[in-house]
């Protein structure tokens, strides 16, 4: 469904991404893990059109979308969430989601009912009338996902959706991701909470310093010594 080939991105001469390639198949949950600063978010920004890559190509459902503007990428069926949540602060929670739904629906009433449905799915139904800037961290995380799925994407990019959630709240979110996946959405996510990933992802890719370090099933990856080293840290540091 999504093919990423040899993506390179440089900032000020320093390579933030070094020829990274991976494929995501239809219906998969594919996760990218790696320490902070390893290039995960940059990779997301390149896929979603917020950064133009310096090399490589991206194709989605057979179309070459390399270098497309973010709104075109979104219209093509790829929605993203931001790691630092980006609500429309002065709008109500419901209106935030309506904005997303309106990119697929002409009619406000339809968009509103779609938005209400999405709000119920993510568990935000009770906060519909609240201004988005007043939501708690957990609800902001939910809103971030709600806005994205209101655009009825076929591929959903989630940037650390569980960062800021506690151990007790994570299982909820894991089951939400599973439900979304079962409803037919392909999901590509960046995550830092490792044990949550192992419960939800079909495949993992590990990044370190802008390079792809490993790729495979969660079980194999978790036992890879290179991965542990990048994650837990070098013994002699």
């Amino acid at each position: 469904m999504l093919q990423v080939k040899g993506i390179t991105k440089k900032f000020g001469g320093v390579a933030a991404l070094n020829s990274v390639s991976f494929d995501v198949g239809k219906g998969e949950v594919f996760a990218i893990i790696g320490p902070n600063g390893s290039g995960k978010t940059t990779l997301f920004n390149v896929v979603a059109g917020f950064h133009k890559p310096d090399g490589g190509s991206i194709s989605f459902e057979g179309k070459d979308i390399t270098g497309w503007q973010p709104f075109r990428v979104a219209q093509a069926g790829i929605a993203r969430s931001f790691q630092n949540t980006r609500p429309f602060p002065d709008l109500t929670t419901l209106d935030n989601v309506v904005v997303g739904a309106l990119t697929r629906h002409r009619n406000i009433r339809e968009a509103r009912s779609k938005a209400e449905e999405v709000m119920a799915t993510v568990g935000l139904g009770g906060a519909a009338g609240m201004q988005a800037k007043n939501l708690s961290i957990q609800d902001r995380k939910r809103l971030e996902v709600a806005k994205a799925i209101a655009t009825s994407p076929r591929l959903l990019l989630l940037d650390e959706p569980m960062a800021g959630l506690t151990g007790e709240e994570i299982p909820d979110f894991v089951s939400l991701i599973k439900r979304l996946n079962e409803s037919g959405m392909t999901i590509l996510l960046i995550e830092h909470v490792l044990y949550a990933i192992t419960k939800v992802a079909d495949r993992l890719m590990v990044m370190d310093n802008g390079n792809k370090l490993a790729e495979g099933a969660p079980g194999d990856i978790m036992n890879d010594s290179r991965v542990l080293k990048a994650y837990i840290g070098e013994d002699d540091a």
């Binding site: 979104a74 980006r86 990119t103 655009t151």
Partner: protein
Amino acid sequence: MLRLGENAYWAMGLVLLPAAAYVAVPEYFSVVILMYYYAALGSAWNILGGRTGQLSFGNSAFLAVGAYTSTLLFLDYHVSPWVGMWVGGALAAVTSLLLGLTSLRLKGPFFVMSSFAFVQVVQLLLAHFTNITNGNVGLVLPLTDSLADMESGNPLFYGYLIAGILLLAVSVNYAISKSKTGYFLSAIREDEDAAKALGVNTARYKALAFVTSAFLTALIGTFYAQYLLFITPTATASIPLSIQIAIIAIVGGRELWAPVLGGIMLEGFAFLVETLFPAIPGLNFAVYAVLLMAVIILSPSGVYKYVREHI
């Protein structure tokens, strides 16, 4: 229900005020016209500045485009201003589209500065091409008192003409606020990148807001020309006027009736100071400036909201 009620009250008030003023205080009737004129300019500005968050210090350029187009069409080709005003609107829309395609990608203060320069360019061009515009001397419209020429000896005519344009501007604002475009414009104002991520073609919607705002402003330009029957580059495409338009909407706020309140309040205030202290030129604006500072510091989201919340 309450919202609908409020809209009805405002609209009714706007329609009744000219007639009431005409009967009660005919010598001050021109003040009502000026109030409506500024309220309409503020309302048109609000579409870009309030809903989209792109502050323009350049809207008077479109007033000039409207005023000059309908006037030149009338003087040179005997086209009635009733037709000319729509041509002016269209021309302003095209101009704003061309400008918008280049400058709307600028953010915050950079867009402000570009719009500021744009007015000056329009003013200099209008002054320069004297063979068409008669330069800084300006153009005088013939006094015909004929409704077909959008003229009348009865001031009430102008009161209702500008009331009509004002209600049109407010209605457009209302229609936008209830539409998909309105949702997208608010999203752009709140967080443009987040709006893009949802698939909103932000450049297109900003341009749409800009074009609509320019179109309405140009209609007001034709009114201005017909009311005074005299236009000059410095009175139309003027930086002080542009800034005043922005101030009306900033002081009022970005809600539907807020720029109307802002326009009525500020013009009423200016009139009051002028009447009370006619001997001191400059005093009205100096006091106006102090008042403006007070509003910005004490009630940054506008007087309308402040009144709704506190009174």
